[in-house]
């Protein structure tokens, strides 16, 4: 798994690149076998040489491989550098090795095909010495920095910054001249500044300190701290002062990014809460029905995702797109069944509804336990959901959180549109304001009730799809969210979707800001206590319904 993590991380610069990657992956999936067969010959000779015992022959082989611009070479080099490249004893085929519970899983170096699980005895490591390591790391850096893809170049330069030495200067300067991408050339400047700050003359040193002060790499910060020590030792007050200013600037920015990141985490937690609570806001807020089985409807959505993935194991990338409507329909149907079967007999008796729906939640939980087993099921995350968007060296936002924020806002907007713009929405509002009058006007209130409840439940199902990407999918999934969702709805004000949005986001952000100094559990307790106290002051939430209608 280690190897995969190291090389499988996406360092992409744009927001849409995961989709691009997705397309490339699909393309390579389709053209895979032909491509591999043709490439074998170019590789096989030097690769065979890697198995030789003599390090000189290995060196030749590496240099030979370095001439190829095949992307697989990079992985081979990296693996070799880490001492993780093996060959299979029986047929001397080069393999990548992943340690699993059962033994060592092999994949072919050439075609990336899975070769089964073997024991340690059947494989042998390809050893390297220090000289080869040096060669390899140089080659990797060079190949990276001359890659056509600016993202790869940027990454290579970044990796270089920590270990840049005087011999690299010429190469860096050469690259800087030809570099067209702004981000890469900025990184190259920083790398050069790392050199100047140590080896340059006074003026260059000062300029380098200023330049490093504008960057956010840990390495540049460390370097500045070293320089500060030296400058203090050498009694160079001008330099020391400049270094301090730069360090302070770095510190300030780091704090700002930290806060920004916390806000991001908070908003992403808030959007999960929003997804969980928004369906509840409809059933509770619009219909006045306390649905304790709401969490279980989310659970149903999550299990729908699981089933969808079981049904289309080869198209995991697309599974979520299918799961969203599927979960909406499945959970929505469950919702309609619950409304028709139980809730409609209990309108106007909120406490009884609460109890009955709690009973339903227990039944649903046990149902899932009986059908799918009480253990957690693993739902896979499509590749385009993993990875992160690296804004700079300090701040990176993970894609799954970003997608969930966007997704929850989309769901919110869709729901708002349904309630404001469609005939159903009009009828729902009419029924929630005056049931008898609505009925007198010819609205089929029973149908509206069922549809509203189905809508709320369907949204819970959709929330379940999102949750399946964040937490374990198990029978208890719903329970852990139900209290939070109620808190959000009550905090935001019942019957007010915007209140739910504001409530969810502010609770999410507050939670994340409390976490660093209170710990996750205490933060949650504080939030609960805060809401309990808040309800005292504003029993109807942040955005209460006003006027005569609210009195009863």
């Amino acid at each position: 798994m280690c190897t995969l993590n190291r090389s499988g991380r996406y360092h992409t610069s744009g927001f849409f690149s995961p989709i691009l990657t997705l397309l490339i992956m699909i393309a390579s999936l389709l053209s895979g076998p032909a491509y591999a067969a043709q490439a074998v010959d170019n590789f096989s000779a030097p690769l065979k040489q890697l198995l030789e015992f003599d390090f000189d022959i290995k060196q030749q082989a590496i240099e030979q491989l370095a001439k190829s611009d095949d992307e697989r070479v990079d992985r081979i080099f990296k693996t070799l550098l880490n001492g993780d490249l093996y060959y299979r004893k029986e047929d001397q085929a080069l393999v990548y090795v992943f340690s699993t519970d059962d033994g060592y899983a092999l994949t072919g170096v050439l075609d990336n095909a899975s070769l089964g699980v073997v024991s340690k005895r059947e494989i042998k490591k390809i050893t390297v010495n220090n000289q080869l390591r040096e060669l390899l790391s140089g080659l990797i850096a060079e190949r990276g920095m001359s890659n056509r893809n600016p993202a790869v170049r940027l990454n290579s330069v970044k990796e270089m910054i920590g270990q840049v030495g005087e011999p690299d200067r010429d190469r860096l300067q050469k690259l800087l001249v030809s570099e067209t991408d702004q981000r890469v050339s900025r990184a190259l400047h920083i790398a050069l500044a790392m050199l100047d700050v140590v080896h340059g003359d006074k003026q260059k040193q000062l300029a380098a300190v200023v330049a490093l002060g504008e960057s956010d790499y840990t390495e540049s910060r460390n370097r500045l701290q070293q320089v500060l020590k030296q400058a203090t030792a050498a009694d160079d007050s001008a330099l020391a002062k400049q270094v301090k200013t730069s360090l302070h600037a770095i510190q300030l920015r780091a704090e700002r990014y930290q806060a920004l990141e916390t806000v991001f985490f908070g908003i992403s937690l808030g959007s999960v809460l929003l997804l969980a609570a928004i369906g509840l806001a409809i059933t509770f807020g619009v219909m006045g029905v306390i649905n304790m089985a709401h969490g279980e409807l989310m659970m149903i959505g999550a299990y729908t995702t699981y089933v969808v993935q079981l049904l289309m194991p080869n198209y995991i990338e697309w599974s979520l797109l299918v799961a969203v409507p599927a979960a909406f329909i499945v959970a929505g149907l469950f919702g309609v069944a619950i409304e028709r079967g139980v809730i409609r007999f209990l309108y106007g008796r909120p406490l009884e509804t609460l109890l009955a729906t709690f009973g339903i939640s227990l039944v649903l939980q046990q149902l899932v336990r009986s059908i799918f087993s009480p253990l957690n099921r693993s739902v896979q995350t499509p590749a385009w959901m993993s990875g992160s968007w690296e804004i700079n060296a300090v701040l990176s936002l993970t894609y799954n959180r970003l997608y969930i924020i966007v997704f929850s806002l989309l769901v919110f907007a869709a729901l708002l549109a349904i309630l404001k713009k469609t005939p159903l929405g009009l009828q729902v509002r009419a029924v929630s304001q005056n049931r008898t009058m609505a009925r007198a006007m010819g609205i089929r209130t029973e149908w509206v009730d069922a549809m509203t409840f189905g809508l709320g439940s369907g949204i819970a199902g959709v929330a379940g799809v999102a949750l399946s990407q964040l937490t374990n999918v198990g029978p208890n999934l719903g329970q852990s969210y139900i209290i939070d969702s109620f808190m959000v709805v009550v905090f935001g004000g019942v019957g007010n979707l915007w209140g739910t949005l504001v409530g969810a986001m502010s609770l999410g952000v507050a939670n994340k800001f409390l976490e660093p100094w209170a710990g996750a559990v205490l933060a949650k307790i504080f939030i609960l206590i805060f809401i309990i106290l808040f309800i005292q002051k504003r029993p109807r939430g942040l955005f209460p319904q006003k006027g005569r209608a609210a009195e009863n």
């Binding site: 509804t353 039944v363 009986s370 309990i532």
Partner: protein, 372 residues
């Protein structure tokens, strides 16, 4: 003297109550006899396990009674009554923990095992006093009472009612659960308090102690019932029901509604705390799981199944549902949640007044039929 007269009058007027007292008296005598005097080989012998189980049920019944007082009469559906039960239990557990002394695994005379394990060097301040039984008893009453006071004072003054109240009581017990799961709280974290040795010098594993605890539970239940009956038969009880049915109206004829609710809530919380304190020595453990919202909601089912607002119904419900639970979780574990869930649904849909209500209805019908 007048107090005793009042009690006698209460019992005289309360037909169902007389049945209950006779039944409690009977088992309080019979159970120890069957356990201690009947030889083990006999088919009439009750094992100590069953005695403990029955004792546990009686504690649950007392807890259900406490909930019925606030829910059935006051209309306050607390989904967090387990919090008072658990706090009472913890107070008792802390006393028994201190009684272990140097007999723990680590043999530390001052600190309970889990504190030694956490590398603590002295007893946290809130553990002081719990080596005295009287202090623990005081806390069993005071802590749930105080929490109920603070929470109720805040909630009732701001007129948080109905489902809002239910939801924040649930949040309350949830918050307590999270807090008690933390090792830093100093209540044994995940594992809670357990491995108790003795209470007031009597060995907990000893059959005699078990029987005494059982009889005490029966007495507590009887006393609890009597107290509740006194309360609901007094004008206080009538005011409380009036608040349940028409809160605003009760205010407009001059009752300070929040005080009534508050006192009702406190009395109920203290009863729940006592139930918890009797429960813990019998089961031998108290852990944060007792705070879980599910427990509190299960408690609501007991009362709903038995019939709320009848006192007797709460007791019947607690005994029946828990008997069913013991049976199902033993014989058909996967069916239990279906059964429990089904009970919620069936009772709310078809038996709004519970089993006792059903019985009363059919009895009224029968009497009416005979009169005609």
């Amino acid at each position: 003297m007048s107090f005793i007269n009042t009690l006698i009058k209460l019992i005289e007027q309360d037909r169902v109550g007389r049945y209950l007292f006779s039944a409690l008296l009977a088992i309080a005598i019979m159970v120890p006899v069957l356990n201690l005097l009947v030889p083990e080989g006999s088919s009439l012998h009750l094992s100590t396990y069953v005695v403990t189980l029955l004792g546990k049920y009686l504690c649950y019944a007392l807890l259900a009674l406490a909930l019925d007082l606030v829910w059935g009469y006051g209309g306050i559906l607390s989904l967090g009554h387990g919090v008072f039960f658990a706090l009472g239990g913890y107070a008792m557990g802390m006393y028994m923990m201190r009684q272990i002394g140097s007999r723990g695994v680590y043999g530390n005379p001052e600190l309970p095992d889990f504190m030694v394990f956490l590398n603590w060097h002295e007893l946290p301040w809130y553990w002081f006093g719990f080596d005295h039984f009287w202090f623990a008893v005081l806390m069993i009453v005071l802590i749930p009472g105080l929490l109920a006071f603070v929470f109720g004072w805040l909630a009732f003054r701001s007129r948080v009612t109905g489902v809002y109240l239910s939801i924040i009581t649930q949040a309350l017990t949830f918050a307590f659960m999270l807090a008690f799961f933390r090792n830093e709280m100093g209540f044994g974290g995940n594992n809670g308090l357990t491995d108790f040795k003795d209470i007031l010098g009597f060995e907990l594993q000893h059959g005699g102690t078990r029987n005494v605890l059982f009889v005490l539970s029966a007495l507590a239940l009887a006393a609890g019932y009597l107290l509740c009956r006194y309360i609901v038969n007094s004008k206080f009880g009538r005011v409380v029901v009036a608040i349940r049915d028409a809160e605003a109206r009760t205010r407009f004829i001059g009752y300070k509604v929040e005080s009534y609710k508050l006192w009702l809530f406190i009395i109920s919380a203290v009863m729940a705390g006592i139930a918890g304190a009797l429960y813990v020595p019998q089961v031998g453990i108290i852990n944060p799981g007792e705070f879980s919202p599910l427990n509190s909601i299960e408690l609501v089912v007991w009362v709903a199944v038995g019939g709320r607002g009848t006192l007797f119904g709460a007791i019947v419900g607690a005994l029946l549902v828990n008997f069913a639970k013991t049976f199902f979780t033993g014989a058909l574990p996967e069916v239990w949640l279906f059964a429990l869930g089904g009970m919620f649904i069936v009772v709310t849909l078809f038996l709004p007044r519970g089993l006792v209500g059903l019985y009363q209805q059919s009895r009224e019908k029968y009497l009416a039929g005979r009169a005609a």
